[in-house]
Amino acid sequence: MDISDFKSNEEIAWCPGCGNFGILTAVKKTLSQLARHPKDILFVSGIGQASKLPHYVNCNCFNGLHGRTLPVASAAKIANRNLTVLVTTGDGDCYGEGGNHLIHNIRRNTDITVIVHDNQVYGLTKGQSSPTSDPGYVTKIQEEGVILEPLHPLEMAIALGAGFVARGYSLETEHLSWLIGEGIRHKGFSLIDVLQPCVSFNKKNTYEWYSKRVYKVNDNGSYDPENKMAAYEKSHEWGDRIPIGIIYRAEKETYEEKRGLSQGIPLVDEQIEDVDIKGILSEFV
């Protein structure tokens, strides 16, 4: 497939300069390298700026409720394993409203790839703190600054047994595109938290702020993402230096495999007009 196959004609409603553009570029690039027809790719999103992304690519799109991406995505994958399922969601969508689905879908381990546009703020609702906002971050609601411990999504995902845990940065589109590709290739649930500057509301975690800190975790080739304890250390690193890349990776059997759904015809192709229940009806006699 060519990148133009994924072009959508929708006008983009993001602010000029928004970090989401970098993610969009990366996503499209990955798609163009997938060798999958747009009709076989499904984007599931929630509500928020991040969640508008599916409208800007030419793929199937289920743009559902705020926070409820993962149940929709997992079930769509279960229903039709031939779909490549990607989720684009925000830090509010995925870690706030949708937190319970995140922890349980990591456990469920369907083969889906989740891209969290993490701008550490609620963009679409105009600048409230999000679960990942830095302590002290001031908003109209958090007038004296955020006092809750930030959610540590990568660390949490590792603790929950996720098999692919990564962080990207929206300015590093090549690297991000590679990460997303690796996420898709990974069999099972992949979580990619993407640092995404929000130029309108997050005046703290800016391009400059991130760019100064971000480094590739395996730049010198010595980082082993299969070492869980090292991964815990790295995933907790947040300050002067912020690692991006594949933080943790492990092979796990997927939900579909365990359920025996990876063989036989996909559920969606089952003929259902003439299901014969005579046999089981007789069990009630």
Partner: protein, 572 residues
């Protein structure tokens, strides 16, 4: 006490009352009786007091009686608790020695359960089988039925287990034949000629309907009284290639079935009112995205946790208006096990045809009550798919998911089947499924989802059931599980002629039809397991007609035939 009996087995939670109950249902049905059975459980696993009630008769049964003719008390506490709810001349079976009961009572019939169980089976566990035998003996069915019931109940178990249980039952049976002087309870068996018919409860019927309708994905979170739907469908999941997924919560459950349905698979969830409260946002999502789903709401007394294991019909108005925004929905409220089966199938078809949520409103009483039924006429069933077939899909280009049509229904394509991509959105959207801010588009989409679909749906509403209405002095009005008790009251009322109208579908409300049926009625009483008289209010809103009164019950218990009869007499 002419041609029917009410039997009660009572004891602590955990004493296996449900197992005896099931065995007895089978036993008496095979002996040719009609049966109706129901359990009264506490929300606990051990201790307390549970009971199983079984009515048998030579005529079809649809409801319960308040008092029992034969009560078997499996623990001491039950004696005191249930002594007062016996019919005159009724008999209470107890193990005097084991329970250490010294007082005398005419109704008492002493059976040394415990000794007999230990003697035959080696442990107190066999009390259940003993009591099966005892009951068969009291009613006087042939002993072969007892053996048959034991064989069926313990099918698949060790030879030895089966034999011991049979022994236990036979000892119980024989004990009665030798010791019970009265034969008041020997009612005539053999009313059903073909005993090769099913016994099932409401939840079973829903599962069978869903399987037949082609449900391939079921996701739910356990909640009484809906849980057994998930258990039964899980039992058949492998055979029918159905994925049954226990969700992390009800929000996930409804969003999962929406996701699976979007992908092209017929999907269902079930819950009680409290779980449904968490699905309300998802219901609205299904409507907005025009994704067909079937949601079973098995009512129980609320607010909040309420009486988890008991019954109510108090969520009618809630279910009718649940969800933000305005959209078409179908709400079914079947009254019998047969209706539940067929309506479930219809709900799947209608949901898919109109691309809407279809709700099956049931309750604990209907969900958990067993009846012997006629074998379903499977030839009546037609599964029609309202999607663009895989064949036709290949030719589709420039697909618009929400294309405007006369009917409000846009042809629905399945992702990956068509060559084009599909956009679906929870925001207000264009025909293409993209987010819009346009006023005119918004207006037209509301009309599509609300007016147009509603108008189509209204054409295929399940007809109200009309019974004994000619020259009726009193017309009862109900929905859902009260069908049974209304029917028995109608059949047996003597003072005045009592007819009834029952709505197996409450939305769209069959307003014209109902107005026609009721406007000349002498006296209309709504019969509802709620405190608000919700059906009566709906009737008034939709037709302007006011009922003459409402017979309401909101203590968590179903109506009994005698109870309703009395109440009607009082209401006049």
């Amino acid at each position: 006490m002419t041609n029917e009996l009410t039997i009660k087995i009572t004891g602590e939670a955990g004493q296996g009352i449900q197992t005896i109950g099931a065995a007895l249902c089978r036993l008496f049905k095979n002996a040719g009786f009609h049966i109706f059975a129901n359990q009264d459980l506490m929300s606990r696993i051990r201790g307390g007091n549970n009971f199983f009630q079984l009515r048998i008769s030579d005529k079809p049964l649809f409801a319960l009686r308040q008092k029992s003719d034969i009560t078997v008390a499996l623990d001491k506490a039950s004696v005191a608790l249930h002594k007062s709810s016996m019919t005159d001349g009724g008999i209470l079976v107890l193990d005097r020695k084991k329970f250490n009961v010294i007082e005398e009572d005419n109704a008492f019939f002493d059976v040394p359960f415990y000794d007999m169980a230990v003697r035959t089976g080696g442990s107190a566990l066999f009390i259940n089988s003993v009591s099966c035998g005892v009951l068969a003996g009291i009613v006087g069915v042939e002993s072969s039925y007892v053996e048959q019931a034991m064989n069926a109940t313990f099918a698949g178990k060790d030879e030895d287990v089966i034999r011991k249980n049979k022994d236990a039952a036979c000892v119980g049976y024989d004990f009665v034949r030798s010791n019970l002087k009265r034969d008041a309870f020997r009612i005539k068996a053999g009313a059903i000629k073909d005993t090769n018919t099913p016994i099932m409860n409401g939840n079973d019927a829903i599962v069978l309907g869903a399987i037949r309708a082609g449900c391939k994905f079921y996701s739910a979170y356990p909640m009484s009284p809906s849980t057994s739907i998930m258990e039964v469908i899980a039992r058949y999941a492998k055979k029918f290639n159905i994925v049954v997924e226990q969700a992390e919560d009800e929000i996930a459950a409804i969003n999962m079935i929406i996701g699976a349905s979007f992908a092209g698979v017929r999907s269902m969830t079930a819950t009680a009112g409290g779980g449904f409260a968490l699905m309300v946002e998802g219901l609205s999502l299904a409507a907005m995205t025009e994704t067909p789903i079937v949601v079973v709401v098995a009512q129980r007394p609320a607010p909040a946790t309420g009486f988890p294991t008991r019954t109510a019909q108090a969520d009618l108005e809630f279910v009718l208006h649940a969800g933000h925004g305005e959209f078409a929905r179908a709400v079914y409220a079947p009254g019998t096990i047969e209706e539940l089966f067929f309506v479930t199938i219809k709900a799947f078809n209608v949901a898919e045809k109109y691309q809407i949520p279809a709700i099956i409103l049931t309750d604990q009483h209907l969900a958990d009550s067993y009846r012997n039924i006629e074998t379903f006429d499977l030839n009546k069933i037609k599964i029609q798919r309202y999607i663009i077939s895989k064949e036709d899909s290949k030719r589709i280009k420039n697909y618009k998911r929400y294309q405007f049509t006369e009917s409000g229904i846009s042809p629905r394509a399945i992702p990956s089947w068509i060559e084009d991509v599909i956009y679906v959105d929870s925001d207000e959207h264009t025909e293409e499924g993209h987010i819009t801010e346009d006023a005119e588009m918004g207006r037209k989409m509301v009309e599509k989802r609300f007016y147009k679909k509603f108008s189509g749906l209204s054409q295929e509403v399940e007809k109200p059931t009309v019974y004994n209405m000619e020259r009726a002095d009193i017309v009862l009005l109900g929905f859902g599980s009260t069908y049974g008790v209304m029917r028995e009251v109608s059949d047996t009322a003597t003072d005045k002629k009592v007819g009834f109208v029952h709505l197996p579908q409450v939305w769209p409300f069959p307003a014209i039809e109902m107005a026609g049926l009721l406007k000349n009625a002498k006296r209309v009483l709504s019969v509802e397991n709620n405190a608000g008289g919700q059906l009566a209010r709906l009737l008034r809103r939709e037709t302007g007609l006011q009922v003459n009164g409402s017979v309401l019950k909101y203590d968590g218990r179903p109506f009994h035939v005698d109870g309703l009869m009395d109440r009607i007499k009082k209401e006049g």
